[in-house]
């Protein structure tokens, strides 16, 4: 985590653009630029800047956005809901679609079902998120006009609009995630399917579904859950793109806007936030291993 903080900080400070000059505007005098630089603390040694920044971050203070002229923490809170809603929707959608698909492919291995699932999975990896997004918008929002084209509606403005605005973005974002999880589910289940205890379970007359759920899927769960955790990186990257495609005012859109405006406090905060979330999710994933497989202990 410390490394992340240093990397994030250094990356954005070793820049060509001068934020003080950007804030001051085109007509500012050198003196004004210097004054702004002093106020932002940009004139101090870089190590000192880092310590000040880290101390503030630990207290939840990400500083003031150069561009939006607001507290970065407020800015993030403001943009949190759409991103959270989109991510949770996508996660649920992806897992409920991918695990059965992968299991089916493993169970019917080397048949057309297996090949179809695997083929779609490679395709899902290859088609960029925004191409899928625009294809879906064209088909379902413009051609059939079933769903809203773009935008976002907050939950408090009505659940109907909230849900319909989320369907297309979630499906878009879920594609690559489904591809990833289905692949691992299949590979992981294939390994277990030939195990002795599965043959025993079948031999004692257990029906196929209980065999698959209790004996195969459960033993295949650790790699699947691991990949769901690691895939959050894909999800976060996808959020940035999807929110731009669908004009959703979330954290992903904020990241792009902040980068374009060279708004370092905001970029730093968002990247740090996403990374912390990613690390925490993978920590939780590690902890679930003990539930899934009691042999694993820490």
């Amino acid at each position: 985590m410390g490394v992340v903080a240093v990397v994030v900080f250094l990356l954005l400070r070793l820049t060509a653009g001068d934020p003080a000059a950007i804030i001051a505007g085109d007509n500012a005098t050198t003196q004004q630029v210097e004054e702004i630089r002093g106020r932002l603390g940009l004139d101090r040694p870089i190590a000192q800047q880092f310590v000040i920044w880290l101390g503030n971050v630990l207290r939840g203070d990400f500083g003031e956005s150069f561009f939006f002229k607001k507290q970065v923490a407020d800015l993030i809170l403001d943009r949190l809901e759409p991103t959270l809603a989109l991510s949770i929707f996508t996660l649920v959608l992806a897992v409920t679609a991918a695990v059965p698909l992968g299991a089916l492919a493993a169970y019917r291995r080397a048949t057309w079902i297996d090949r179809a699932v695997m083929g779609l999975s490679v395709l899902g990896f290859s088609v960029p998120v925004f191409v899928i997004g625009y294809a879906l918008i064209y088909l379902f929002a413009i051609h059939f006009a079933w769903l809203p084209v773009q935008g976002y509606q907050r939950l408090r403005d009505g659940i109907g609009g909230f849900l319909t605005h989320l369907i297309l973005p979630s499906v878009t974002l879920a594609v690559i995630y489904v591809a990833l999880i289905a692949r691992i589910t299949r590979a992981s289940m294939l390994e277990v399917l030939n195990a002795d205890h599965v043959r025993t379970a079948r031999a004692k007359g257990l029906a196929e579904l209980p065999v698959l759920l209790r004996h195969v899927l459960r033993n295949a769960a650790v790699p699947i859950v691991t990949v769901i955790g690691l895939g959050v990186a894909l999800l976060i990257g996808g959020v940035v793109v999807t929110e731009s495609v669908y004009s959703i005012p979330g954290l992903g859109r904020l990241t792009v806007d902040a980068v374009l405006a060279r708004d370092y406090p905001t970029v730093q905060a968002v990247i740090l936030l996403f990374s912390v979330v990613y690390v925490l999710i993978n920590l939780v994933v590690d902890l679930t291993y003990t539930f899934l497989d009691p042999r694993i202990r820490y």
Binding site: T15, V122, V127, Y138, T255, I271
Partner: protein, 310 residues
Amino acid sequence: MKAVADRALAIDFGSAATAHGGVARGLARHRSVTIGGAILALVVVVAVLAPWLGTRDPAQIDPGFRNRRPGAERVVPSADGSETKRTSWMGTDSLGRDVYSRVLYGARVSLIVGVTVALISAAIGLTIGLLAGYLRWLDGVVMRVMDGLMSIPAILLAIGLVSVSRAGLRTVVLAIVIPEVPRVVRLVRSVVLSIREEPYVEAAVALGARTPMLLVRHVLPNTVAPLIVQATFVCASAILVEAILSFLGVGIPPETPTWGNIMAEGRALFRVFPHNILFPGVFLAATVLAVNMLGDGLRDMLDPRVRQRL
């Protein structure tokens, strides 16, 4: 000698896997390499021959011929008074530029980015991975740094890196290389860690081989197969990330025709003129798909054991 034996081993593994999974699967493997390779070869040919494939200057704007649908024709008077008819097979964009020409030239950028990123990250990753895997004292520090880099989602890190300096091809390549390096390092390191315990490495040490010699002669050859496979996937992901960066407006400057830039340009008028997004999107998806298929096939042919290691 060693390399030959290794290759024989790999082939042996491959045939065993094929026999196990049935002939149909073995064929499918080879088919994926063939199809992927064919599509990729086509894209390379198109990219190289772009100026001779009926294209115009991809940056040439034509204010009188903006936002035309695919197949639109324009009669252009020549200097000597005769008229030639030009057809825009993929329509024109909002500045009147020919989308067909831009898509063909865009292939160049994507391929250059994909290949250079794959080569650079493989080279850097190989060096760091070899050293970290073999030298214990280095391992701890290097892997902490790699873990730190890996805990920032790749696209986010690339976006952050691009914002650091002015957009351009070199910046974009660098911004995509840095998030990819830790993945290569991990792979190489894991191979090295298992190889260093092999009896022949111990024998070489006992015979007095120096560390650099040992790494190059005995450890390095073992990393080649998984590295090639990994480099293919890095290439696919680099093409995607470049397109995403350009699409978001933080990548290669908009004057350069890249698939991401064409799509970014087409965003505003997407509802009316979807062709600006459709054509580069199809090319992009087909290229990435081809590289991925190639990688999948290569992995299965070169080293089926990689699957477990990844």
